[in-house]
């Protein structure tokens, strides 16, 4: 049968914490290993948390490598500023702009032919004003108002500090000086030509390096007038190497190597730890699953048969496989996830707060907003997931039903009806699918967005704080990682919690089975030896009621059979013919009365002992997956010779000979071994037991005639000389029975021999006669 989706419906545990507690107590010594792996997982998570802060240090070190060396800059600016201090500049400028207003110059101007009369007049006027003033700045102001033709003469090209300064440069300097309103003079405010600046500089030394005037000039021109860092850097690149070496950012390569090595080590260590954790966990869970399954398999055989009246085989099987698997796998995955998740979460929160409170608050708030939002969506979508399962279950049920009854569907032209129903269910599945697929697809992107949102928030707040100077850039890098570390475990914990729910539900089912009441431990008073038992059986006022029934199935039943007797049980299908067998074998215990074997109450001997005394061959022939020999020998110590001789005796040897591998042929469920042949195999199995008491369930009518004869003969041989109970389907074979028990609706309604019962003209008689009528 195909696995039904209905069964995979998410189950909820009735008592979540209770089941989990129980689960952990069942883990026994495994708990030690689990504890160990939890410790390792915590260690590994701590390492994971520690790494971002080291990565932060590493990044900080690397960022050092892109910042211009401050010390170098300071030294350079020191020597520059010593040359270009205000006093120096003033001094230099004065010398450069020294105007010789002596009589020779005045005369030469007034006599000049190239200067117009007008200019000469202006010159003389200003000259008078200059001679009257003592204020130096006013002198420059008057000077600058001089006509240019005059100025050329007044400020001729000259050499200052070995630097040639042209007349035009001087005039420009003069003009820019007079434009200055400020008292103080700095190099930046003046538009100085390179020549003038150069003339003001001196060669100087930093440590052993000589920096020439020319070099100084290039530094000044690199830094002057540029705001864009990229341009400044490329200007700086053009500087001569000896100066650049002062400016070059210095990276502490040693520290970077150390940090990298530490990181590498931590990564490897954390990997190792998490590997060992999963190793331990998978070992523990596999072994635990093994133990659970083993216990269930043992439990099956300790339960009273009445358990199986109310529980289907499929139910027990699903506990063995599905539920145990669920428990093991979920335990393996979710436990470590939960532990690492929680450690990571706590650790990250702590680390974030240690690193920076504002940033931590930003990261947590921004992520939490996202998660609350997602939680709302998830909560609302849960019903669609359940609906999908339910609808799919309905549809699958319908499909299963229709396919299984396809011949009826065809014969009754039921297609239209089936299609209508199918369309109805299919449409509903479609609707539920659309929604649940959409919603489940939403989780990933939502997570991604929350991550990115936190990221941006951290970046922006981080940037603000960096600009304020309260944190370093490395902190941002660290927080970028923290945000990821923080959001991941939140989802992991959520997922792990829901798998824990499943685990609890499944383990509940497993333990529910383990807790089922077992058959009471026996204290047999005596033991009957197989070889000595004669086979006198007596039923004395036996009363029995099936659990849950109000009326007793067997009441005041008294009968006896002596060695070699044949007792037949007849009745309609479902009349309860197997009840007696169940009581004889003590699969169920009687409520009142006694059943004795050779005078000993069967309650006084152990079940094992009782079973030894009986050979039971049932109608639903039970052949397991194994060889012919294994099936016949079963759990006896029979030799190969004994097996072959038994087979020969009941005519099974011919059939076995025709099998491809003879006695070593493996028999499966769907083999070509017919029902009759199966029955023969079980008879052979029973014969090997050689017990004094026999319970036989006659062959079904589904056996072909020849095999049926064989089976009948084999049964006769098996029962020969022994007390036998025969559940009969064909009334012809039991006419010679010593006692016939007629059952109807679970009760023994008539007891007697064939003749007696026919005479009575009751249930048996009508049953017997109905075979001959039409």
């Amino acid at each position: 049968m195909p696995r039904r989706n209905m069964n995979t419906k998410p189950k909820k545990a009735k008592n979540f914490t209770g089941s989990l507690k129980r689960l952990f107590s069942e883990l026994g010594t495994f708990r030690l290993f689990i504890l160990l792996s939890i410790v390792l997982a915590i260690l590994s998570s701590i390492l994971t948390i520690a790494t971002p802060s080291i990565l932060k240090d590493l990044t900080n070190e690397i960022t050092e490598g892109i910042k211009v060396n401050e010390e170098g800059i300071n030294k350079l600016s020191e020597i520059l500023s010593s040359d270009l201090s205000e006093d120096n500049i003033q001094k230099h400028l004065k010398s450069i702009l020294r105007v010789e207003l002596n009589s020779t110059t005045i005369q030469s101007i007034n006599n000049s032919t190239t200067i117009s009369n007008e200019d000469k007049n202006t010159f003389n006027e200003l000259l008078t004003k200059i001679s009257k003033t003592t204020d130096e700045s006013k002198v420059y102001s008057y000077l600058s108002r001089m006509p240019s033709s005059v100025l050329k003469v007044l400020l001729p090209s000259s050499t200052y500090n070995n630097i040639k300064i042209s007349s035009t440069e001087k005039i420009d300097l003069l003009n820019s000086l007079t434009n200055l309103s400020k008292e103080q003079i700095s190099i930046n405010d003046l538009k100085l030509s390179n020549q003038i600046i150069l003339s003001m500089l001196t060669d100087s030394k930093i440590e052993d390096t000589t920096i020439t005037k020319a070099e100084k000039l290039s530094i000044i021109s690199a830094l002057q007038g540029n705001n864009d860092p990229q341009t400044i850097y490329s200007e700086l690149d053009k500087l001569p190497d000896n100066i650049k070496s002062y400016l070059e950012p210095s990276m502490n390569m040693d520290r970077i190597i150390t940090l990298s090595l530490i990181l590498l080590l931590l990564y490897i260590l954390s990997t190792l730890l998490s590997y060992i954790t999963s190793l331990i966990m998978s070992t523990v869970t596999s072994k635990f699953a093994n133990k659970l399954r083993k216990n269930i398999s043992k439990k099956i055989n300790r339960l009273s048969l009445s358990y199986f009246d109310t529980h289907t085989i499929g139910d027990v099987l699903s506990r063995i496989t599905n539920d145990v698997d669920t428990v093991a796998q979920n335990l393996n995955q979710s436990l470590t996830t939960l532990v690492t998740g929680i450690t990571l979460l706590l650790g990250t929160v702590i680390m974030m707060f240690i690193t920076n409170t504002y940033m931590a608050l930003t990261a947590i708030t921004s992520s939490l907003i996202g998660f609350i939002f997602m939680g709302i969506i998830l909560g609302r979508s849960q019903k669609y997931f359940t609906r999908r399962q339910v609808e799919l279950g309905n549809l699958d049920g319908h499909i299963e039903e229709v396919y299984a009854g396809l011949n009826v569907l065809k014969a009754y032209n039921g297609e239209e009806d089936a299609n209508k129903k199918f369309d109805f269910y299919n449409k509903r599945v479609y609707e539920a699918n659309k929604k649940s697929l959409f919603l489940s697809g939403l989780m990933q992107p939502m997570m991604g967005f929350i991550g990115n949102f936190g990221y941006v928030a951290v970046c922006i707040v981080g940037a603000i704080l960096t600009l304020n100077g309260s944190i370093s850039f490395g902190v941002i890098v660290a927080f970028m990682t923290y945000v990821r570390l923080f959001t991941n475990p939140l989802t992991q914990i959520a997922q792990a919690m829901s798998t824990m729910q499943q685990t609890a539900a499944s383990s509940e089912r497993v333990f529910e089975f383990m807790d089922e009441e077992e058959m009471p431990v026996e204290h047999p008073k005596t033991k009957l030896l197989k070889e000595e038992v004669k086979g006198n059986i007596e039923f004395n006022n036996v009363k029995f009621t099936y659990k849950g029934n109000d009326k007793p199935t067997i009441k005041n039943f008294t009968a006896s059979a002596s060695k070699g007797d044949k007792i037949a049980i007849v009745g309609k299908t479902g009349a309860g013919k197997t009840t007696l067998v169940n009581l004889l074998m003590r699969f169920y215990e009687i409520d009142e009365g006694r059943i004795t074997i050779d005078g000993t109450d069967i309650k006084d001997i152990s079940r094992d002992n009782l079973h030894e005394l009986f050979t039971m061959v049932l109608q639903d022939t039970w052949i397991f997956n194994g060889t012919v020999k294994e099936n016949i020998k079963y759990n006896t110590n029979a030799t190969d010779e004994e097996i072959t001789s038994v087979c020969k005796k009941i005519g099974l040897d011919h059939f076995i000979g025709s099998l491809p591998k003879g006695y070593d042929t493996v028999l499966g469920d769907n083999d070509s071994v017919s029902l009759g042949e199966r029955q023969l195999l079980t008879i052979a199995r029973g014969m090997l037991e050689n017990s004094p008491l026999i319970i036989l369930d006659e062959a079904t009518s589904n056996v072909d005639t020849r095999t049926e004869e064989l089976v009948q003969k084999a049964m006769d041989k098996l029962a020969k000389g022994k007390t036998s109970f025969i559940i009969a389907h064909r009334l012809s074979t039991i006419k010679n029975a010593n006692l016939i028990l007629v059952m109807d609706e679970g009760n023994i309604v008539e007891v007697g021999t064939h003749e007696e019962l026919i005479k009575k003209n009751g249930v048996y008689a009508s049953l017997y006669n109905s075979q001959f009528e039409l």
Binding site: M1, P2, R3, L58, I62, G65, I66, Y233, D237, M253, S260, L264, S282, T283, R293, I296, S297, I300, N301, I313, D396, I399, E400, V402, Y403, A404, L406, A411, Y412, G414, D417, A418, F422, V429, N433, K434, G441, F453, Y455, I460, A463, L467, T573, G574, R607, H611, E612, L618, D620, N625, Y634, E689, I695, V703, R706, R730, S766, L767, F772, E773
Partner: protein, 587 residues
């Protein structure tokens, strides 16, 4: 699988194209984000940058993230539509196809396999489309785009990333090579474990009667231990996967940072800053590249599984239907209630052995014909040829004088009332099951339903039920007993009031008495109807007008009970195995 995708309509292809474009747009947005990140990085790094610049870039990044989220929502909406529409339509198609299949084809597939093909297999592919389509589009687009983004940044870093990918991919493939065959083995062992437990449970009385509890536990333990061993191997092997993945990713980042540091220190002042922001960007892109390669690996793991499902679905859809519908849909002659077999032989299409060989007989209106023989003699097969569950390989079968192959199946089935070997009920009510199907006449009245139930000897238990005729019947009739199911199935046939009844071993599950009462009632009600009965009990058929004795697919005798006892050894043998000589005489 592509065959299945051909079923997409133009509209759906447009949506898929739209999804692809959206995915590209989404990847664009997502890969744009690291650009803004690096922008923010250098802004933060440079003193004097304005706050507004940083916030602006942060907002851009957020817009990208939001855009990507919205795109995801749209993609998710479109894809969920495509996926559920696909499964909706394909399921319908498979279902309709299965309805058309002949029983031979059904047997070929096996019912349970057909069920899984219609349910689980389609769900598998739906999942692939629903969750996989985004992945299938995204992973390659992401990988290619991210690669082109980083390829020209640094050859060295690209090499490291490539090495990382190669390591990861080799680890994944090596693990898969080791683990996947073991997974199949686990599946097998789980089945075996189930079998061992089932065996103990089904044979629980035998196990106890033989005191074989320990023996069974040992058998179970062996499989349990084998299973545990393989599971341990698998889980231990797989345990390395996640740590390796994260190690590779971490180490790659570290390598990029470390080499980045030396690049920066060697570089000219002006390019240091560029290298630094490149480094940050690269390390984030290289993670994207690795993630997309991991996604690709996941896809390669999902696709084969879906492929298997797709093949299984296609097998059903492409199956040739051996039963072709005829054209006669109304009465064309005066013959009523006759069935004639003319030299009919039958074998399954691929089988060598004939299950039926040269069978001929005719049954007339109001007669009862019975078929008897041992298991495998072909009696069920024979009777299944009448409603065309199978078609005869040779010879012809006439119903009312017309070859069954010429009838429209619906019309043929209107003539017949078929009761299967194993009673089949459908979920609904008692009444809905009795009036099930369509017999070409008007819908049954409540009285007719009650009458049919009465005739089928089902009235007593139906009236005992809480809701009587409206009692709920669970799926496949699980909530009522086998005998009750059988009687309702017979009531269903009676309610149809057909010309010809076919009882395919429908009485064996009933005890002699019920069997007898039922047959009497049917006979009384259906005086004019023709009865075809497959039976195992001599008692059931002794009084039939004609008994056909089958042995290994051949007809070894036709006649009445008395005639056959004299002339047919096989019949006599069967009779004697069930009744004593004396009883036979009495009868």
């Amino acid at each position: 699988m592509f065959k299945l995708f051909k079923k997409f309509e133009k509209k759906e292809w447009l949506i898929i194209l739209f999804v692809l474009l959206l995915t590209i747009f989404q990847v664009f947005l997502e890969l744009k984000m690291p650009d803004y990140m690096s922008e923010i990085t250098s802004l933060v790094e440079t003193s004097g940058s304005s706050m507004s610049d940083i916030i602006r870039n942060g907002l851009y990044m957020l817009v990208c993230a939001l855009g990507s989220l919205i795109t995801s929502v749209i993609i998710g909406f479109a894809v969920s539509r495509i996926a559920s529409n696909f499964s909706y339509k394909t399921r319908k198609e498979v279902f309709t196809k299965v309805e058309e299949l002949g029983m031979a084809e059904v047997k070929d597939f096996s019912t349970s396999s057909l069920i899984t093909r219609t349910t689980n297999d389609i769900t598998q592919i739906e999942m692939l489309i629903g969750l996989g389509m985004q992945l299938i589009f995204r992973a390659p687009v992401m990988a290619i785009w991210a690669i082109t983004k980083i390829l020209n940044k640094s050859a060295e870093w690209s090499t490291y990333t490539a090495i990382g990918i190669v390591i990861l991919m080799s680890v994944v493939s090596i693990l898969m090579v080791f683990v996947i065959p073991k997974f199949k083995k686990i599946q097998k062992l789980t089945d075996e474990l189930n079998n061992k437990a089932r065996e103990n449970l089904t044979g629980i009385r035998v196990v106890r009667a033989f005191n074989a509890e320990k023996y069974q536990e040992k058998r179970f333990k062996r499989v349990n231990d084998d299973l545990t061993k393989i599971q341990l191997f698998n889980q231990r092997t797989l345990a390395i996967l996640m740590p390796i993945i994260s190690l590779v990713m971490y180490v790659l980042t570290l390598t990029i940072y470390y080499t980045g540091a030396s690049f920066i220190s060697d570089a000219a002042l002006s390019s240091k800053l560029t290298i630094f922001s490149n480094m940050i960007v690269f390390s984030s892109y290289s993670m994207q590249v690795i993630m997309s390669f991991l996604m690709l690996a996941v896809i390669f793991m999902i696709i084969p599984r879906a492929q298997v499902s797709a093949t299984r679905i296609n097998e059903v859809l492409e199956k040739d239907i051996s039963i072709k519908d005829g054209h006669i849909s109304r009465k064309i002659n005066d013959e009523v209630g006759t069935v004639e077999f003319r030299h009919v032989s039958f074998k399954y299409p691929d089988a060598e052995e004939y299950l039926l060989k040269n069978i001929s007989f005719k049954v007339n209106k109001g007669e009862t014909i019975a078929f008897i023989g041992s298991t495998g003699s072909g009696k069920s097969t024979l009777i299944n040829l009448v409603p065309r569950f199978y078609d005869a390989t040779e010879g012809e079968i006439l119903v009312n004088g017309v070859d069954v192959r010429e009838y429209k199946q619906k019309h043929l089935h209107d003539i017949l009332g078929y009761v299967p070997q194993k009673a089949v009920l459908f979920s609904g009510t008692v009444a809905s099951n009795v009036k099930y199907g369509d017999n070409g006449k008007k819908e049954l009245t409540d009285d007719e339903i009650k009458e049919a139930i009465k005739i089928a000897n089902a009235e007593d238990f139906v009236l005992k039920m809480e809701n009587k005729y409206n009692e709920h019947i669970a799926q496949s009739g699980q909530n009522i007993s086998g005998g009750q199911k059988q009687r309702l199935a017979i009531a269903r046939a009676i309610a149809r009031n057909p010309e010809i009844y076919i009882f395919d071993d429908s009485f064996s599950a009933l005890d002699y008495k019920t069997d007898l009462e039922l047959r009497k009632a049917i006979k009384a009600h259906t005086k004019d109807a023709t009865l075809m009965i497959v039976a195992q009990r001599i008692g059931t058929i002794m009084n039939a007008d004609k008994i056909v004795v089958l042995d290994k697919g051949k007809c070894v005798g036709i006649g009445t009970h008395k005639e056959l006892l004299k002339t047919c050894d096989v019949y006599k043998e069967i009779a004697l195995s069930q009744l004593s000589e004396e009883e036979l005489k009495n009868a």
